[in-house]
């Protein structure tokens, strides 16, 4: 499991490879906060290579969303598989995040 960060135009794109769980959530949080600290405002997390997310992983996404909004930025999500879509619906986090089917649509939405 790992996270890779790239820049597409003005958007910082984070790919989550593997799981987003209690054991690695702090690593994701720190990587995104480092970019926020540098002045980045637009963030997209792409879950196309993600297996599952636990409650602590969901918690980090909520926390990052709040911190980014406080800095005048925005966090959006893309490529949730059926399991992840169900997880976001169960927790009603699908109402909190703007979620796109594809990375391209998400990038266009900023």
């Amino acid at each position: 499991m790992s996270f890779s960060i790239s820049k597409q135009g003005e958007v910082v794109v984070v790919d989550v490879e593997g799981q987003l769980i209690v054991g690695n959530r702090q690593e994701l949080k720190q990587k995104v906060l480092d970019e926020l600290e540098k002045g980045e405002k637009k963030f997209l997390i792409d879950f196309s290579q993600t297996g599952y997310i636990d409650s602590s992983g969901l918690g980090v996404l909520v926390s990052l969303s709040k911190k980014i909004r406080e800095q005048g930025g925005e966090l959006r999500l893309a490529n949730l598989n059926d399991d992840l879509q169900t997880l976001f619906e169960l927790t009603k986090l699908d109402t909190l995040f703007q979620i796109s089917d594809t990375r391209e649509r998400a990038l266009e939405s900023f």
Binding site: I21, Y52, S55, S56, L96
Partner: protein, 140 residues
């Protein structure tokens, strides 16, 4: 009474780095039992992740010398996962805020037990050679 057998019985050191391996083993067993795919890929993986991380971080207080045991028993009707830690246990029935309520949706915590209840058909807690959280998933 339905015949049952032990499908999984592993003990891991109390460290979250061992979680993923156990969860993948349980998921593989789930698939071998021809349980519907989403129950294996979502319900089992996420509910077990919650139970095991609770056991490590809360039950065992993140003490590396302690252990967590994960056991799965299967019968015709259900898979029953027991996650056992060395802690004193907790009140499963205690009132907890609904994490989906508008006033809690921005909270970073509080979704673990909620997810266990939503993803499993039954969640129980009892003492038996340690603090046991029992997750029951119907096979159909």
């Amino acid at each position: 009474m339905a015949e049952s057998h032990v499908a999984l019985d592993v003990e891991i050191p109390s460290d979250v780095k061992y979680m993923e391996g156990v969860i993948e083993l349980a998921t593989r067993k789930c698939r071998e039992l021809s349980i519907p795919p989403q129950k294996c890929s979502l319900n089992v993986r996420v509910a077990l992740a919650e139970a095991i991380s609770n056991a490590i971080l809360r039950g065992n207080g993140d003490a590396a010398h302690k252990h967590v045991r994960v056991r799965a028993v299967v019968n015709d009707a259900a898979v029953v996962f027991d996650v056992t830690d060395e802690g004193p246990g907790f009140d499963l029935a205690a009132d907890r805020p609904d994490p989906t309520a508008p006033e809690n949706i921005l909270s970073e915590d509080g979704r673990g037990l909620f997810l266990m209840h939503r993803l499993m058909d039954r969640v129980e807690r009892f003492q038996s050679d340690g603090n046991v959280v029992r997750l029951t998933l119907n096979r159909e």
